[in-house]
Subunit: 207 residues, 6 copies
C-alpha cells in the first residue's frame, strides 16, 4: 500500500473539482479502513517494533493499546514530503497523549519519537527489550481481555469512544441507557460467582 | 452503598423494556449523585488512602483535585464482574489523565494503579507518606482555596467545566459573558488592595 | 498593556447591564487578540524566560510550541486578585497538558509552576540552560518549519485545531475535504524529489 | 406567580456579581420548573383560552401539543417591560413553528399572535369554537395517547427530544440503542394481536 | 421487507443484553439502508401515491423532494403496534416540516396525514391529480436537475446536509472550504456561457 | 459587487492548492461581510422589491425580518451557472422557513419564489401593494423596535441566535447567565413604570 501516492492517476480528468471528488473518496476510503480498528467493539492491541512512519502512525493511533520493543521509533514524516498526516494522526494523537504541545511539535518537525519517550508520554503502555517479550505481552494481554465478559468489555470500549466525542453529561446519559439493558445480562452473576470463588470466569458466549 | 448491585430487584416485572427503564433511573440517579461533586461550584478535594475500587474510582474522578497517601491504589474493577465502570470513570478518566491509552489499559485489564504511577500520570496532585500528612495537606489546600474570593474561585471552576465540554471558541465566548458581570464585583479591589500590602485578603462574603 | 484592569472606567454609566456590555466587548477584544496566535495558520513558537504570570500565561497558551529557559516559571495568578484567568488559560491549558487535575490545581492555588515541572507536564517542549540557548533553539526550530511546504505545514495546524474542537469522525471528514484539494499541489512532487535526493527542499512559494 | 419580578429583593447585597449569582439561580430554577414539561417522558397537552402572555408563552412552549379556543391569543410581551423572554420562549419557539422569521417578528414587536394565525403557523394543532369543545378535545386526545403502550409513547417523545438537540446521525444511533432493548417488550406482541383483531389494545402495565 | 418485525428470531439466545446487540445491528442496518438516500450526493425525488405507512414514512423522510398524487396519505403508525418510528421518521420529520408541534401530534396519534395537509405543511412540494401527472412531474424534475453541473448540484446537497447538522458558523466555514476547490471547475465558465446565450447548458461530464 | 465572480484572477498561481487558499479567503470574506447582519446585536429589517437573485438571497437570509412588495420575487439562481449558493443561503434558508423540503426544491430548481408564496412559507413577514407602503412599514417597524430598551432588544436577538445554534438545555443555561446581569438594568423599572401609565417609554440610553 503506497500511502503517500496523492491519488490514483490516469482516470482523472484535469478539472481540479472532479479530481478533488476522486481524491476525497480515496482518502476517505483509507481513513475508513484504518478507523475500523476504532469502530471494532473489541479492544485492539498493537505491537510495534523498529520504524513506524507516516501511515504506520495513522494506523497505530487507531488502536486502543500500543506496546513496543525498545528499538521502536515513530515519525510523523508527512510534512517532509509536502503532506498532512491525513489518515487519523492529526485527529487522534493529541487525545492519545493528552498534549497538544507535544503532538504539534512532533507533527511540525517530523522528528524521531523514540519508544522510551513515547512510553513516558503515554503513547505506549509498555516497552520490552526484544520482539519476543513484546509479542508475549501482546498475546497475554489479548488472552486476558478475551477471557472477560464480552458484554462488559465491548460496552467499555463503546462508551470510552462515545465519551471521547461528547460532553461528560451526554456521555453519562448514553452510558445509563447502555447499562439499562446490559445490566440484565447473565454474564454478571456468572462473573460474580467466579470472582467470589477466586476462580477464572467460565468461557462467556460470544456477542 | 452497594455500587455493583445491578438494580433493585423484587418490584421489577420480567419485561426487559420495563426493567431497563427502572435500571436507567437507578444508574442515572447514582451518576447524578456522584456528579454533584462536578456540578458543585466550589473546588472539591479528595484525599485517598488504601484501596479505591470500582465505584470509589467513579467518585474520585468527579472531584477537582486528588491527593493520596503512598499506600493508596486504584482499580477499575468492573470488567472482572461483567460490568462497565458506568458511574463516571469511563466518561471522566481519559480527560483527567489526558491519555486514552492509559485509560483504556486500566479499564480493560482492571489492574492495580498504584499511587506513584497515578501521581506521574497526573491523576493525583500529590502523594504523602502517611494518612496524617495527607489529611494535613488536604485541609491546608482547602483553607487556602476558601480564603480567596468565591467569585473568582467558583467562576474558575465553572469555566473550566464549561471549557472541558465545548470548543475553545465557545468557551471563550462563555467566559467573556461571565467576566462581564463578575468583573463588577467589589472582591477585586479588595483583593488587589491586600495583594499590594502583601497581606492576607479580608474574609470575602459568601456567594 | 494592563491585563488585570477590570475595564476602561470613566465612560461607563452605573447600570450593571450597560457596564457588562462594555466589559464583554473589552474582554472579548483581548481574547480575540490573543486568539490570533491560535488562528494564525502558521505554527507559532513561544520562547519564555523568567516570570510568566497571569495574562502572560493566557498568551503562551495560545501558541503551538513553548520553549523556556531553566529560570522560567509560570503562575496563573488571577484568583489572588479576585479574577478568573479569562483570556484563554482556563479554555486552553487543560487540553495543552492533558490533565484536568494539574490544570485545576494550578488555577485554584496560583502556585509557581517551574520550568522543569512544566517540561515534564508537556506544557513545554524543551528547557534550556540560558536565554541564548533558548533563542537559538527557537530560531532554528522556526527556520526548520519555514523550510517546509506551507501547504503541508498550515494544513497540519488547521486540521489539528479543527480536531481539538470536533469529534474524531467530524475531524476526519474535514481532513478528507482539505486533502482533496491540497494533494493537488505541486509542492508534493517537489518535496518528494528532494527527499529522494536527500537534499533540502527548494524554497516553496508563499501561500 | 409573578414571572416578571426580576429577582427576590431584600436579601441581596449590592454587589452586581453576588446579585447575578442569585438571579441566575432564580431564573434557572424557574426555567427548570417549566422544562419539567419537556423532560416529562409522557406527552404533554396544553389547552389555552383567552390571553396567554409572557411567562404563559414560556410555559406552553414547553408542552408537546397545543390546542386553543378561538378567543385565545398570545403575546411575547417581555420587551415591553425591558425583559427577554428568558424562561424558554426564545429557546423553543423557533423550533416549534419552524420559522426564525416569524419568531423574531413576534419577539421584537410583542404584537398579538391570534389563535387563527397560530394554527396556520403550526404553533397550535387545533382551534375550537369554545372552551367546552377545547377541553373535550384535550381530554380525548390524552385518553387516546394514554391507551397506547407507554414503552412506545415515551420512547417516541424521548427520541423526538433527542433528535431536536443532535445531528441526524447521532439521533439515529441513539434510537438504535433505545430500540435494541425496547423491541424486547411484551407490549409489541400484545399491541399487534389487538391491531389484527381490530380491537382496542389491552391496558398496558405502567412504566 | 417486513419493517415491523422486531428482530430476526431463532438464532437469538435469551440473554436481553445479547439480544439487544443483535437488534441494534439489525435496526442500525435498516436505518443505514434508508440513510443511503440522505447520504447520496445526488438529489433524491420521491413520488408517492396511495397509502404510505410506518417504514414507508421513514423512507420518504430520507429523500430531498417529495411529490404525491391527491389520493396519497401518510400515517406514522408505529405506536399502534407498540413501536417507535425508529428508522428515521422521529429524527428527520420535525426538520422537514419545521414544526415540532405537528410532528409530535402525528407521531403520538398515528392519525392519517392526507396529501393536501402534507402539501400545506411543507412535507410535499406538489400534489397532482393522478399518478400519471405525478410521475410526469417527477421525471421532468429529475431531468431538469440532471441537466445541471453535478459539481454545483451535489455541492448544494452536501452543504445543505452539513448545515442541517451544524451551527451556521460551522456550516459557513465548511462551505468556504468546499467552494475553494469547486470554484476551480470548468463547469462554471461553461454554464455561464450557456446562460448568456440563453441556451441549454452542455452535457456536463460525470463526477 | 459581482457576487458570482469565482475569485480575483491575475495574482493567482496555477497551483490548485494555492488557488484554493485564496478563494477560501475571498469567499470567507464575503460570507463574513453578509454575516455582519446576523452578528449585529440590533434587529435588522430588510425591505425587498422586484428581483432578488443569488447573492441578494444570501444577503436577505442574514436579516432578522424580511418585508416585501407584491412584485418581489426570489431566485436561488446559483446552480444555473455551476455554483453553490455559498454565501449563506444554504446555511440559513432551511432554518428561516422551517422546511428542508421547500429549501431543497428552491435550491435544486432555481425556480422563481414569488412574494405571495414566500409570505405563506414564513420567509417574509408581510407583503405590501407597493414600494411606498413597504418602506413605510419598514421604517415604522424599525422605529417601534428602536423605542424599546436596547438591553431587552439586543438580549433577545443574541439569545435567539444562540438558541439557533445550540441545544435547548445549552441555550437555557446561556440565557440564565445573560439574564443574571441584564435583569439588574435600570431599564426594567423605567419600562414597567411607563407600561403602568400606558405611556410611551422614555428614550433609553444607548448600549
Amino acid at each position: 500500500m503506497e500511502m503517500t501516492t496523492p491519488a490514483p492517476a490516469g482516470d482523472l480528468t484535469r478539472d481540479p473539482a472532479r479530481k478533488s471528488v476522486q481524491i476525497a473518496r480515496f482518502v476517505g476510503g483509507m481513513q475508513d479502513s484504518l478507523a475500523s480498528l476504532d469502530r471494532c467493539p473489541k479492544p485492539v492491541i498493537c505491537a510495534v517494533h523498529s520504524a513506524c512512519i507516516g501511515g504506520g502512525v495513522d494506523l497505530v493511533c487507531a488502536a486502543d493499546i500500543r506496546l513496543a520493543s525498545s528499538d521502536a521509533w515513530f515519525s510523523i514524516k508527512e510534512v517532509d514530503i509536502g503532506l498532512c498526516a491525513d489518515l487519523g494522526t492529526l485527529q487522534r494523537l493529541p487525545k492519545l497523549i493528552g498534549s497538544e504541545s507535544l503532538a504539534r511539535e512532533l507533527v511540525f518537525t517530523a522528528r524521531k519519537f523514540p519508544a522510551t519517550e513515547a512510553l513516558q508520554a503515554g503513547f505506549l503502555s509498555a516497552v520490552h527489550d526484544d520482539k519476543q517479550a513484546l509479542m508475549g505481552h501482546a498475546v497475554e494481554l489479548g488472552s486476558q481481555i478475551a477471557a472477560h465478559s464480552p458484554v462488559a468489555m465491548q460496552g467499555s470500549k463503546i462508551n470510552l469512544n462515545y465519551a471521547r466525542d461528547h460532553t461528560v453529561a451526554q456521555a453519562l446519559q448514553h452510558q445509563a441507557l447502555w447499562s439499562s439493558v446490559m445490566l440484565q445480562t447473565g454474564d454478571i452473576p456468572a462473573a460474580i460467582a467466579s470472582a467470589r470463588k477466586r476462580k477464572s470466569p467460565p468461557p462467556f458466549p460470544p456477542l
